[in-house]
């Protein structure tokens, strides 16, 4: 029967070690993999290191480090746990794995660079635990969400689920633009509001609900209607993503033009009766709203939900998709709906997609823009057809 000492020695004979000085001098930027426990990591680690406690190594490493050809330097505190980890990694097919001799202790004693991690406190670790378990999010991702600033246009049907899910996910700062007050006819779908907030401004009603859900979130209420006059001030306050849940065309074209000029991606959603549309407009990367819809339909062809109705749960579906796209953009993961328009049909329970392309002749984001400052959006949307027989 082998003792621990025998087992360690045998393992070290099977793997390759690397001295801190050699590791620090490497030019091929290996992946540093820290297999220590959370409390050790919290006291400091190698810059840019990936943290997977040894107990989770086998289950998590493939998702976190999919490239098996990339050189890996695995380390622990003194070089024992990392030796066992190195052998495991070799067994998992990683081709170039070395264990840091003397571990973090030796690295630090030699004066090589270390980094103190920004970490979540115990409360946040518990609140966001189901995010932390996902390799694509983890602690770094959750910290990115907590640093993110998202501006919601409208606290209505789409803004309700979007704001609640973004708040629950820990988006650190949520701006909400809406000039309306909560009306009884809103409550069939606008779930961020409640019967007791009837008559109060929507931004304040939403702020109350969001803060009750998650006190980590700072809500910035803009109790005003978005216009050419105030949009630069509001967008200028620094937003990473805009969630467009407006209920009218002038605001949608205004948000589009401003987002292109401010270079802020827009997660677009729109709904009518049983059907919805979702896409992501990423300025200068994908198409913008004007590439998709160069002209708004005449008013008689564009009834609002107030005129034509909407299934109460539909904005729940579409607004949740907008929240999902927003989280993906914030985390830089997955395939956002850039250049794709997702069509949601609740009656058919179907999702279909059409392709969107940038229009080189787009008046706002095209090669030779002809619209370079705000226009009169109400007049633009009333259009030359206004009053013309349909």
């Amino acid at each position: 029967m082998a003792s621990y000492r025998d087992l360690l020695q045998r393992t070290k004979d099977e793997i390759d070690e690397i001295e801190p000085a050699e590791a620090a001098g490497r030019a091929d930027s290996p992946l540093y993999l820290d297999v220590r426990e959370q409390d050790e990591w919290d006291e400091g680690h190698l810059p840019g290191a990936l943290h997977i406690p040894r107990g989770y190594l086998e289950s998590r490493v493939e998702a976190a480090a999919p490239d098996r050809e990339r050189p890996i330097v695995v380390y622990c505190a003194g070089g024992a746990r990392s030796a066992f980890a190195a052998r495991t990694l070799s067994e998992l097919g990683y081709g170039d794995v070395r264990s840091l001799a003397g571990g973090y202790t030796e690295w630090k004693r030699n004066g090589f660079p270390t980094q103190l991690p920004r970490t979540l406190d115990a409360g946040k670790r518990s609140r966001y635990s189901r995010h932390l378990l996902i390799p694509e999010i983890g602690e770094a991702g959750q910290l990115a969400l907590l640093d993110a600033r998202v501006l919601l246009i409208g606290a209505g049907g789409l803004g309700s689920p979007a704001s609640l899910y973004l708040a629950a996910a820990g988006i650190g700062r949520l701006g909400i633009v809406d000039a309306d007050v909560v009306d009884e006819s809103n409550l069939q779908r606008q779930i961020v509001h409640s019967t007791k907030s009837l008559g109060t401004p929507k931004v304040l009603s939403a702020k109350g609900a969001i803060e009750a859900l998650n006190p980590d979130v700072e809500v910035v209420p803009y109790e005003e209607r978005l216009t050419s006059e105030n949009i630069d001030r509001i967008l200028g306050e620094g937003w990473d993503v805009i969630v467009d849940g407006a209920d009218n065309f002038p605001t949608r074209y205004l948000v589009n033009d401003a987002s292109v000029w401010h270079d802020i991606p827009v997660v677009h959603g729109s709904i009518y009766r049983f059907e919805g549309q979702v896409t992501v407009f990423r300025p200068h990367v994908g198409p913008c709203y004007r590439c998709l819809f160069p002209a708004p339909p005449p008013p008689e062809l564009a009834p609002s939900c107030a005129e034509g109705g909407v299934l109460g749960v539909l904005p729940g579906i579409v607004g949740s998709l907008q929240a999902s796209e927003t989280l993906k953009l914030t985390l830089g993961i997955g395939e956002p709906l850039v250049g794709r328009l997702l069509l949601v049909d609740a009656l058919e329970a179907s999702f279909s997609e059409v392709k969107l392309r940038r229009d080189p002749s787009c008046p706002v984001c095209g090669e030779h823009p002809t619209i370079t400052e705000y226009v009169d959006y109400v007049e633009f949307c009333a259009g030359p057809r206004a009053g013309a027989p349909a």
Binding site: G154, G156, G157, L158, G159, D244, G245, A246, D247, N248, F249, R252, G269, S270, I271, Y272, R273, F274, E275, G276, Q277, L292, F293, P294, A295, P296, P297, P298, L301, A302, P303, S304, C305, G308, V310, P315, L341, L343, L347, S352, E353, V354, K355, L356, R357, D359, A390
Partner: protein
């Protein structure tokens, strides 16, 4: 025959039908046949002999503006989607 998807805002003009059929070898021909069969659609889709700029037309998921416009040829089994913008939120 080409299946044409009718958006909710144009269904009054098709008697409530969500999907209708029309015939033709090009997008223009299909849409002309469509508006023959459903005359109420004519003024909704056509503007001065062209497809109105606020109506997007997709052939098998591709915007026909990025193909050959209304002259894009339509083969048997392909489907069209008519899609105007919706503002509701």
């Amino acid at each position: 025959m080409t299946r044409v998807r009718i958006p909710p805002t144009l269904r009054t003009e098709t008697g409530g039908e969500r999907e209708v059929e029309a015939d033709g070898g090009s997008v223009r021909a299909v849409l002309e046949d469509l508006t023959e069969r459903h005359p109420a659609l004519r003024d909704r889709i056509w503007e001065d002999g062209e497809v109105a700029p606020f109506v997007n037309v997709y052939l098998d998921g591709e915007d026909v503006r990025t193909l050959d416009g209304v002259d894009t040829s339509v083969r048997e089994g392909q489907s069209l989607i008519l899609l105007p913008a919706m503002a509701g939120g």
